[in-house]
């Protein structure tokens, strides 16, 4: 177990190192930098002023020096300053994290609490009209562009209630807080709920074909006991993996949803920062996301060990 953990942590470190290189150099390939954008906002370009500013920001130095400067700072917990706001990058990133985290958490909760039961029902009722209906709904969840869904929700809510769930940083009532997060979370969660449902369904179908299910029936266990006790316990494992992976993919959906619902979370902030070529923000934020993803995968693997007695990490 200990050897496994060491190996695993080492690989995680290697992955994160790789990500730091990829994001750093990818960003440098993107044409234009913050100085170009600042001059675009000023409506002119002056080569001398531009060179001065590049020097001031340190983006005139050789790439390898810039990389070392960033990564060594990153290790020390020095994340640099945002090029745009000129505030410490950490100060820009940190307050936005809880917003996205709440949204993502709620979306995952939504995804799991809707997706898993419906997936089980769909599998148990395989071939029935209910199964077909659920599959069509889940497939449609995977087929709707999420910004479209978000906009339709907003439009419908204004048309029907004359109100819209736009982000409110300081909700006064419980209901307001709920509206702030729940609707956008549902818009993102719909897609991942659909995914969760499909995985649960196929996992359940797989498990329901297993010999031990027949054994359970032979014992005289009821259908309910067979499905929910014996089958689900086994079928849940791949679902956990997928929810874990989904947590990583959720960030993509959140970018779009945070834009539509105008939520000042990290996902939209990342896109804006890419647009502004705000390297310190993009680099550190991507690293942060990568750390979360890598640890989410790690947690999933550990959860596997908890849920599946067969798995013991001894390697």
């Amino acid at each position: 177990m200990f050897a496994y953990l060491v190996r695993r942590l080492f690989l995680m470190f290697v992955t994160l190192f790789g990500i730091s290189i990829v994001i750093f150099f990818l960003l440098r390939i993107v044409p234009g930098n913050i100085v170009d954008i600042l001059f675009a906002a000023a409506g002119y370009v002056d080569p001398a002023d531009k060179a001065n500013l590049e020097k001031e920001l340190g983006i005139d130095r050789p790439l390898i020096v810039q990389y070392w400067h960033w990564i060594s700072g990153f290790m020390r917990g020095d994340f640099g300053f945002s090029y745009v706001s000129e505030k410490p990058a950490l100060q820009e990133i940190l307050p936005r994290i809880p917003i996205t985290a709440k949204l993502a958490g709620l979306a995952l909760l939504f995804s799991a609490s809707i997706g898993i039961p419906l997936g089980v029902i769909s599998a148990v009722k395989q071939g029935t009209k209910l199964d077909y209906a659920l599959r069509v709904v889940s497939l449609s969840g995977l087929s709707l562009p999420s910004f479209w869904l978000g906009l339709l929700i907003l439009t419908a809510s204004v048309a029907m209630f004359g109100q819209m769930p736009i982000f409110n940083p300081n909700p006064k009532t419980w209901l307001e807080a709920f509206a702030t997060y729940a609707v956008p979370a549902a818009a993102v969660g719909f897609r991942s709920a659909a995914l969760t449902m499909r995985i649960t369904r196929s996992s359940m179908l797989e498990v329901l074909r297993q010999d031990y299910i027949r054994t359970a029936r032979a014992k005289g266990a009821s259908e309910a006991a067979v499905n929910y006790h014996h089958a689900l316990k086994n079928a849940i494992l791949p679902v956990i993996t997928v929810i874990g992976i989904e947590a990583a993919f959720l960030i993509g959906g959140l970018i779009v949803t945070e834009t539509v619902f105008n939520i000042p979370g990290v996902a939209r902030f990342l896109v804006e920062a890419i647009r502004w070529r705000d390297y310190p923000i993009v680099q550190n934020l991507v690293m942060f996301i990568a750390v979360v993803v890598v640890f989410a995968n790690f947690t999933v693997d550990m959860l596997y060990a908890v849920f599946d007695p067969r798995i013991r990490y001894t390697d």
Binding site: P31, G32, N33, D36, I37, L38, F39, A40, A41, A42, G43, Y44, V45, D46, D49, L53, S82, V84, S85, E86, K87, E92, L151, L154, T155, V158, G162, Q163, M164, I166, P169, T259, V260, F261, N262, P264, R268, F269, E272, R275, W276, R277
Partner: protein, 532 residues
């Protein structure tokens, strides 16, 4: 027909201005004006920016030396009002402009305002001070100013190389706030200090901008509002839905396109919406340094092929203006009269005849139905740029030109233009003040930083100087018209149209006037109030 309509519009406008002033009743104190902001400005320093994304939210933090009357829609020399300067006077040779400054004004941090601050601000703008602006887009405005001198704590004098009556117009723009001497330009970007009615509270990029009432504002009893809060919403439909749903008292000024106005009017029938020219022209920058547009015939053919009315019909449902460099009348002070305009090639009413002529020019240059000219039309990846480019490409088809749209990201646009790495570019030019000096020198003078095409015509430049020194508006206007006409005939930067845009607010918002010949100067908002 058109002039009658224009007259009617004028009349309606003056009624509107009058109504906001007289029918509004006694202003109520308090309340926070909630607006959305269309994008996240780079920073809070007006002097370093060249977009009203910075002006609009931060103009209320500052005062100018003088300012355009905030309740007269059309900025003109007659609507200049004292601000930090109580009065001004020209020397007899019109080369010295002296301002008497208001006393007892304090910066938001409590330090007193003096003439040193004025000098600092303009030294900064002229690039003469120790500290530098990171960007200085309007340096050219002060090219005729030798220096700014202080005479005691409350008097400053602008010493000019030659008479320049337009200097006052530029000083009155929202782009020309007075900065404090004791705050560095860097701090002004993140935490601006002014003397204005509102104090800066915070600016969270991509999130919000907050201003609060300055209780020690030197105008007693102002501002009425407790504060102004902008929520930054880049998605237009989300923003408009939120306005309709009552989350905001007012839209971002001049953010509502004509097609969207109908939507707002149907959703929020009580909202007041005002449509005015923005004094932003949509134009074509032509790379005349290399083939094929180094050929004047092809440039002329392109200018002839433009069906300006079609642009205006499609993009503004007819509510846009066709003119030269200067904003057309009646809102524009300096635009050519219609009959004069129509004598310029390409502005004539008979589009088919124009295009027939254009095709002849193209054939002369060696192109025809079987040998079409392939052209890249570069533009920024913003709807206001992209949409006219699409129409332009479609129209160029009629004269054997096959255009391909080349969409460029903001970060790459100016470098690309500076590299001359384009054939045709679709560009927007915002005019901070409706003034020929601002427009001509900034966009057409040899060596000007915003003269993207590097158009350089020494003879025309002489004419710039002649009109610039003319103090009599009546005499100056025909000079301006002549220059404008020449610029169009040279196909220096063909102007396609002048945009109009709408601003909406809910009925409880009082005291807002949208300027009709500028979108940079009317956002002080010190006497805006909420009737709630």
């Amino acid at each position: 027909m058109r002039s009658v309509w224009a007259l009617a519009a004028m009349a309606a406008l003056s009624v509107l201005t009058a109504s906001t002033a007289t029918l509004a009743g006694e202003p109520k104190q308090g309340g926070i004006l909630r607006m959305y902001h269309r994008d996240s400005p780079a920073n809070a320093s007006i002097l370093e920016g060249a977009t009203y994304s910075i002006n609009i939210p931060f103009m209320g933090v500052f005062n100018n030396l003088l300012i355009y009357d905030q309740h007269i829609a059309q900025n003109s020399p007659d609507t200049l009002r004292p601000d930090l300067a109580e009065s001004w006077s020209w020397s007899s040779d019109n080369k010295k402009l002296t301002f008497k400054l208001r006393q007892g004004v304090k910066w938001h941090d409590g330090k007193p305002f003096t003439s040193a601050d004025v000098k600092c601000s303009f030294d900064l703008l002229m690039g003469k001070s120790q500290q530098k602006l990171r960007q200085n887009p309007r340096k050219a405005w002060y090219s005729e100013v030798n220096e700014v001198t202080t005479n005691g704590e409350f008097e400053v004098t602008f010493d000019l190389k030659r008479p320049q009556p337009s200097l006052l117009a530029m000083l009155a723009s929202g782009y020309t706030p007075v900065y404090p001497c004791h705050v560095s330009p860097a701090d002004m970007r993140t935490n601006p200090i002014g003397t204005g009615p509102f104090k800066f509270v915070e600016f969270k990029a991509n999130e919000s901008i907050k201003l609060t009432r300055n209780p020690n504002y030197w105008k007693k009893g102002l501002p009425h509002l407790d504060g102004i809060e902008y929520t930054i919403i880049t998605n237009r439909s989300t923003a408009i839905l939120a306005f309709v749903a009552g989350k905001f008292d007012m839209t971002f000024p001049t953010h509502i396109t004509i097609p969207l106005l109908k939507d707002i009017k149907s959703q929020a029938p009580n909202a007041t919406c005002v449509v005015e020219p923005t004094n932003v022209s949509t134009n074509i920058i032509v790379n005349s340094t290399s083939a094929p547009f180094d050929n004047i015939d092809i440039r002329r053919a392109m200018a002839l092929a433009l069906d300006r009315k079609a642009f205006v019909d499609i993009l503004f449902e007819g509510q846009g203006d066709i003119g030269g460099t200067m904003l057309p009348p009646p809102q524009g002070l300096w635009g050519m009269p219609k009959d004069r305009l129509e004598t310029i090639p390409g502005y004539g009413r008979d589009i088919n005849a124009n295009r027939e002529e254009a095709r002849k020019l193209m054939q002369k240059a060696g192109y025809g139905p079987d040998k079409r000219l392939a052209v890249k039309v570069s533009t920024r990846n913003i709807a206001e740029y992209r949409d006219p480019a699409v129409i332009l490409i479609d129209q160029l088809k009629t004269i054997y030109i096959d255009g391909e749209l080349d969409v460029v990201e903001t970060a790459n646009w100016f470098p690309k233009v500076a590299r001359k790495d384009y054939m045709l570019g679709l560009n927007l030019t915002g005019n901070a003040v409706d003034d020929p000096d601002q427009s001509f020198y900034e966009n057409y003078a040899c060596g000007s930083e915003r003269n993207y095409t590097n158009y350089c015509n020494k003879e025309i430049e002489k004419l710039f100087d002649v009109q610039s020194q003319e103090t009599d508006i009546g005499k100056r206007r025909p000079l301006v018209w002549d220059i404008d006409k020449k610029l169009q005939e040279d196909v220096a930067r063909p102007i396609i149209f002048h945009a109009r845009a709408g601003t909406c607010w809910h009925p409880h918002v009082k005291g807002v006037t949208i300027m009709s010949n500028s979108s940079y100067n009317g956002f002080r908002y010190e006497d805006v109030w909420l009737d709630k």
